[in-house]
């Protein structure tokens, strides 16, 4: 729900700003991991909790609520559990995120080198 960027400079820049909105949301710490898990199959709440491990239930709740309100994840309440699943929208976004993950893996060495020279300090 960030106010986001106020500047439609050129068409390309406008697209960039829109991208930022999405990036900032799925960039929340656990969003992508949850999306990845749900892309395999629907999960219950505690099931996700266990699969991830190392985050408090509060955070998981918030993450799921956010994803749900963005329409990327659906929440279905059944008598014995609550089932979370990817929506069609979420499923359509995932490949783009995976692509970024693959890009990162592919360029891992360059990224790391850049970071190292940065740490050495710019002269």
């Amino acid at each position: 729900m960030s106010p986001v960027i106020p500047l439609p400079v050129t068409p390309a820049d406008r697209a960039a700003c829109v991208a930022t909105e999405v990036l900032r949301r799925v960039g929340e710490k656990w969003s992508v991991l949850v999306l990845a898990l749900l892309s395999e199959r629907p999960h219950g709440f505690n099931e996700l909790d266990r699969a991830i491990g190392g985050l408090s239930r509060r955070i998981l709740t918030r993450t799921l609520r956010t994803l749900e309100s963005d329409g990327l994840v659906s929440r279905r309440e059944t008598p014995q559990r609550v089932e979370y699943a990817l929506t069609g929208l979420g499923r359509s976004l995932l490949p783009l995120i995976i692509a970024i993950g693959e890009w990162a893996v592919e360029h891992a060495s360059e990224l790391e080198e850049a970071r190292r020279s940065a740490v050495r300090g710019r002269t």
Copy 2:
């Protein structure tokens, strides 16, 4: 520089976590816009400042420093100005970000509708 996520669950999930690292960085509020501007042509500092407008120079500086230390942007100091430009790495990432922007534009109505039903409150 976030500590990021500690869990390589499955290969796909690992890719997801790596993606998160990238998303969190380019998800910083002005990163994508700066990248978009630099993709057109190199810019000087104040040139970027004017092109964007509405952000303090401090923020612009931080944004550029971060992008530089990630190897996405280069910084070249000349007698009369400092020139920022996209690196090859940055240029290779940009299309993936643009793709996300296009996805967002394409699904804008669905996104908005999801948000509206979320605001109405879940029953």
